[in-house]
Amino acid sequence: MQLLVILPILFPLVGLLINAFFGKHMSEGLIGGLASSMVGLSFLVSAWLLFTSGGGPGIVDLSIPWIKVGTLDVPFGFLIDQLSLTMMLIVTGVGGLIHIYSIGYMHGDPRFQRFFVYMNLFIASMLVLVMADSFLLMFVGWELVGLCSYLLIGFWFSNIHNAEAGRKAFVVNRIGDVGFILGILLIFVTFGTLTFPDVFAKVQAMNAVNAPVVVAITLLLFVGATGKSAQIPLFVWLPDAMAGPTPVSALIHAATMVTAGIYMMTRAHVLYVAAPDTQTVVALVGALTAFLAGSVALTQFDIKKVLAYSTISQLGFMVAAAGMGAYVSSVFHLATHAFFKALLFLAAGSVIHGMEHLSKGEEESERSGAPGPHKAPAPAHSGEHTVDPQDMRNMGGLRTRMPLTFVVYCIGGLALAGMPPFAGFWSKDEIVSAALARNPLVFGLLAISAIFTAFYIGRQLVMVFFGKPRSEEAAHAVESGSAMTVPLVFLAVFATIAGILNLPGLDSLSHWLVPVVGQAAEALPFNIGVATLFTVLALVMLYGAWALYRSAYVKAGDADPLTRLGGLYTFLLRAWFVDWFFQNVIVKLFYAGSTFLARVLDIGGIDGTVNGVGIMVRDVSASLRKVQTGLVRSYGLMMLLGVVLVVAYFVLSASMR
């Protein structure tokens, strides 16, 4: 029983080892099938744990001695409780479906084997993150998923833009990780332990509100969360991360890895509850992120960029909920978002796949060892020969060409917009209700973000699926194969019904999570007024998007209706100039500082000192070498003088006595 809990991690590890060492001689179907079934087995074990657990607190706590140095004692331990089980089921469930989808999506890619090795590694790493029972082991998982993210964003690294996107994600995440590890160190210095139960017990024993050290710890941990969960100001890597293959965007950059920050804050909620000041910061940052990213998503043209900003916005909702202490709502939204955003991304991948159908036919005949069929997206709208298959301006009318994708995209879109009875409605409503009750400012920001959400997803649906095809590719798009559509259907079903996880009145998820987050974090009672208001607003915005975009695009080059906003449009299109600011202010300052350190301090100061010592020694010895005449007799004389001096010393000191 005890050892069984590491099986979910073990399965993907076995899968990746087999694929890494023997994948060369295996067919695509075998590689993909093995990787998918290993994740499926992990899911089954997780489900088995769920059904045998009985719901007691801290269901399993496996602990093996790991690091014992002085007072530092960190066990290699796994804590399976209601929260980690929820995460495990999401990670392995959604992950398994995306693995299956990838078999179809990555078909024909020359690095097919490597892709599944990385994907399995990601699943194993993510499970380490959510199953860890200490901050240190959690950090191990935290870094491992960051590594997988880097590897998979830059998966098609032969295009320099993809490699740069991977590097950017890695560097930005490192900034957050520095905060995270500082937080962990501060926890150890303060409490002398790193395992969750011990730390939480000691925090509760402190019985202090806003103790400075706890505020510092929580803020530092939150810096880590802003990196991993793409919050202000470190969200800039996530839109670029769309350079990776679409299944990666769905799994890592929408459904699972980016929720690690929310999971971490929920796991460490004892700390956060003890620091209301941090809570306020967290809630505001989350709400601001939701607002900023939602507004940027209004103007993007890349089908995946819209979804990326949408993800940032939805993560903002979750972070805001965590900041307001509504942990159950946060986890609930995390779960529903995992379903509908994975669905949207995979459906977008299906759209891109369909758009590439025309050019792929030609490519296949001339391809000889060239990179995969869905290679890098061409830089938006650059040339006349290449039609960017991700640019929504080139799409249109795909409704009839790809009916199944259209249906599931609509389900995902409605869930995202918060339409009842789809999953997103219930979870978003809980968060908004909590905000209304606790923080009016956060409520205002989230309300506007929710309105934006409905508009941009409506705009996307209209631009992609309605109207007339605006390119040859769109006109000849075909529906994707069953390996891709079957997972889409499954996810669509979940995106529809996942609301039952925590339906008002039933509150199953709330009751389920009580042993972890406590009674206080339960969702507020269903607020029919808020629900109605937001449903009406979402409907209005969806209709507005339909009215505005139905006939806006006749051909690909038409101006977007929102260009009437003038400067504000550019401001939003360039994502509030945050990237520009980082590039031109922070990076330049950093370069200037580095140049100063390298040219002045390093060459002048440090090298000068070292070289100065060398020159001094050389000059002194140049004068001293004159002593070495090479004449044996002069050496003899010196020896004699030395002996005389030594003897004289002894004689004199003896006669003194």
């Binding site: 002593v627 070495q628 005449t629 090479g630 044996v632 007799r633």
Partner: protein
């Protein structure tokens, strides 16, 4: 007058002659002989003191010094022969390749 004094005086004179020989002579053989002179002056002093105190330690050391001197001569003469082969001279001032 102490009975040991003349011996020690002679020993000192011999030692000084040896030192002067080492410092002033340029022929390696002569320097060698001067070193032998110094060693034997020390031997003389040892024997004299050994006789005065009635102890055998001094004489023991003399035998020891003789053995060392014999070894030293064997090595030293071999060196001088080799040097003479390469330099065609035994002048120590010619051996100044190690000049700094």
């Amino acid at each position: 007058m102490n009975t040991v004094a003349p011996f020690v005086l002679l020993s000192a004179i011999l030692f000084t002659i040896g030192v002067i020989g080492v410092l002033l002579r340029r022929n390696a053989i002569m320097i060698f002989m001067s070193i032998e002179l110094m060693l034997n002056s020390a031997n003389l002093a040892f024997v004299a003191f050994s006789n005065q105190w009635g102890k055998l330690d001094g004489q023991l050391i003399v035998f020891f010094v003789m053995a060392v001197a014999a070894t030293e001569v064997a090595v030293g003469l071999a060196l001088i022969v080799t040097i003479f082969h390469t330099k065609k001279s035994t002048d120590v001032d010619d051996l100044s390749q190690m000049k700094g």
